[in-house]
Symmetry: C2
Subunit: 347 residues, 2 copies
DNA sequence: CTCCTGATTGACATCGGTGTCATAGGCCTC
DNA sequence: GAGGCCTATGACACCGATGTCAATCAGGAG
């Protein structure tokens, strides 16, 4: 029983006494089949516990109920939540989800996409390493939706947040608390998203007439140990910052422990991207609620719309911006110059 | 250029002036091809930018360089880290990873596995909802590795931690701090893992001669709001607990904010499973370092071994136990209230 | 009763590769 | 120089489905 091979359409046809093609018609709800025939074929399928073979089907039909998802790293909490939401919605619509991580390697990213295309996926959701990451690739007209970062491909759409504006809001929020020395911490400027957040930070400073200081702008926070040393360096400046703007969740996940270890929880902090426990820390962390669930939902629905009704009209246009906002929790509302409030305990 | 169809093996063969089969041999590194022929075919492949079609290949060959991964929910931080590690190692070995979430629905879990089998995956890594989740399914002899929970399938292996023993260690640790009223908080007892952790908790109480109290054993912590209300209820008991043992990360992620909101950070806590920020909270959270990266690594290597060398010998046996240990950070070392040390008659 | 039409159905090619087996030479042996 | 053997290659079937197009058949029209 366990060793028995699965029934094929041929077996079903033989069992029902019809041709393979007729069985295929029943399988595909072709209306040109007599009711009686349909009933007996259906009965045979049940009797033999028939399951269609997706491989053979997609080989011949050139399509497949699978959606490929390419992300930077599935282990990132933001990405995991994003993918979870995408998978949930696509699964409801009967699609399988294939996930692969690019780890920021362009070559790997392109080879994954190529593989998905070869596999005849029905559509792609891609978190591109750059605007032109898929430049010149043969996509066979597949619907592509880029997430979290703007991408470009013929007829594609991108679901993003307004990184620049939100970074400006976050930074302005700190300025409004009286801060003028605000450190910007991010990882390398290889991704457009990161660049836009830098621009938004600079926008806010300019709006407030504050001159930006290169010493306070760090784009080398690549991992937790590095974040720790960057914090040390920044604190040791002649004019150290009184506030920090963290440009993404991964960096935040390094900054928070770093501040705790250093005993510098007096430092104001606004983080781009919410994260688990942010509300339970002391102080609780003020964040830009860059919601992966919402972005994932919009991306999945956008792709589904194109899968169901392939049209030249792009619902929502080539770039769809998902709203996000600042959540005040405490760390972002710490005023500048704590010594003016009470005698300093530290040092 | 973008509209041009991809080259097939037939095109390559024609271009090189050989038969399709010979081109296929070159593609598969078959040694029985003359060097000159090999070189010209290789040149043609490059010239035509040939990429093999994985669909056609797996249809005929009955195998595929894809590994299916079935987990409970890819959005869970523990799961995301586990999958990330598995994906990284399998990708290095040239395998694609297919991920799908079962959301604890047996029916969905089985249909995903069935789909993977139909797709001719080379192997499966499954986080099973129960020991017999795959019972009776035709697996076509696929190598299967279960992760985090023991599963059963012909010739399968499971990579797990000793949940029962670790739960005992965690609970004993709290008892060693003088606690005798220790609450156990977990989600529903549908997964063996959870059941084993309950048993370990009871083992520790028994070892210490403490009678277990059903009021302190809660298996209904299904989501964050529920965790909050469970905490309220437990605190309101006539004899409230002085310590909590959290049976998994998802529950911990509810307990910690709950304790902070209630201002009950005096409560001792040991959490099964490490999580981001655990070391930065006040107090920092003592955990059982149930490392997803380590489990994922062992699972991936175990599967790879079977993929490369299909043998009846199971390397490491049917059940592989990954070590884990307790990390003291503070919350688990909060002593019981002084008065509970003095003699008192319970019940 | 024959012809036409539309509804059903099936034979066969096909998707892009791989497995089996046969075949054509080249080289060695006796 | 014939037989044997090994190497390199190709012809062909096949994996499990779908697309094309022709064939069959019943019923209504003339």
């Amino acid at each position: 029983m366990t060793a028995m091979k699965d029934a094929t359409l041929r077996d079903v046809a033989a069992h029902a006494g019809v041709s393979i093609k007729t069985a295929s018609r029943v399988l595909n709800d072709d209306p040109r089949v007599a009711d009686g025939t349909r009933a007996s074929v259906t009965a045979s399928m049940v009797a033999l516990a028939y399951q269609p073979d997706p491989t053979a089907r997609s080989l011949r039909a050139g399509r497949d109920r699978t959606v490929g998802v390419v992300v930077e790293s599935i282990g990132d909490v933001f990405v995991a939540a994003l993918v979870a939401q995408i998978e949930r919605l696509l699964a409801e619509a009967g699609y399988q989800v294939l996930v692969a991580s690019s780890y920021r390697e362009l070559e790997r990213e392109r080879s994954i996409v190529s593989n998905f295309v070869q596999r005849r996926c029905a559509g792609l959701i891609v978190m591109p390493s750059s605007l032109d990451a898929l430049q010149g690739m043969p996509l066979r007209g597949l619907p592509v939706v880029f997430v979290d970062r703007e991408g470009s491909a013929p007829g594609s759409q991108s679901v993003i947040v307004n990184d620049r504006d939100l970074a400006r809001v976050a930074t302005s929020h700190l300025i409004a608390q009286g801060h003028r020395r605000i450190a910007l911490m991010s990882d390398a400027l290889v991704v457009d998203t990161t660049r836009h957040r830098h621009e938004g930070y600079l926008d806010a400073l300019r709006d407030a007439g504050i001159e930006s200081d290169p010493e306070l702008i760090r784009d080398d926070c690549i991992d937790e140990p590095r974040v720790f040393s960057v914090l040390d360096e920044v604190f040791a400046l002649d004019e150290p910052p009184t506030a920090i703007f963290s440009a993404n969740t991964r960096v935040s996940l390094g900054i928070v422990p770093g501040l705790h270890v250093a005993g510098r929880t007096d430092m104001a902090l606004v983080a781009f991207g919410d994260f688990p426990m942010a509300a339970s820390l002391k102080p609780a962390v003020t964040v830009i609620d860059h919601s992966p669930a919402r972005i994932g939902e919009v991306a999945a629905r956008t792709l589904l719309a194109r899968l169901i009704e392939p049209s030249d009209q792009l619902q929502g246009g080539p770039v769809i911006t998902v709203p996000a906002h600042l959540i005040e929790r405490g760390s972002g509302e710490i005023p500048a110059e704590p010594r003016s409030r009470s005698p300093r305990v530290r040092r």
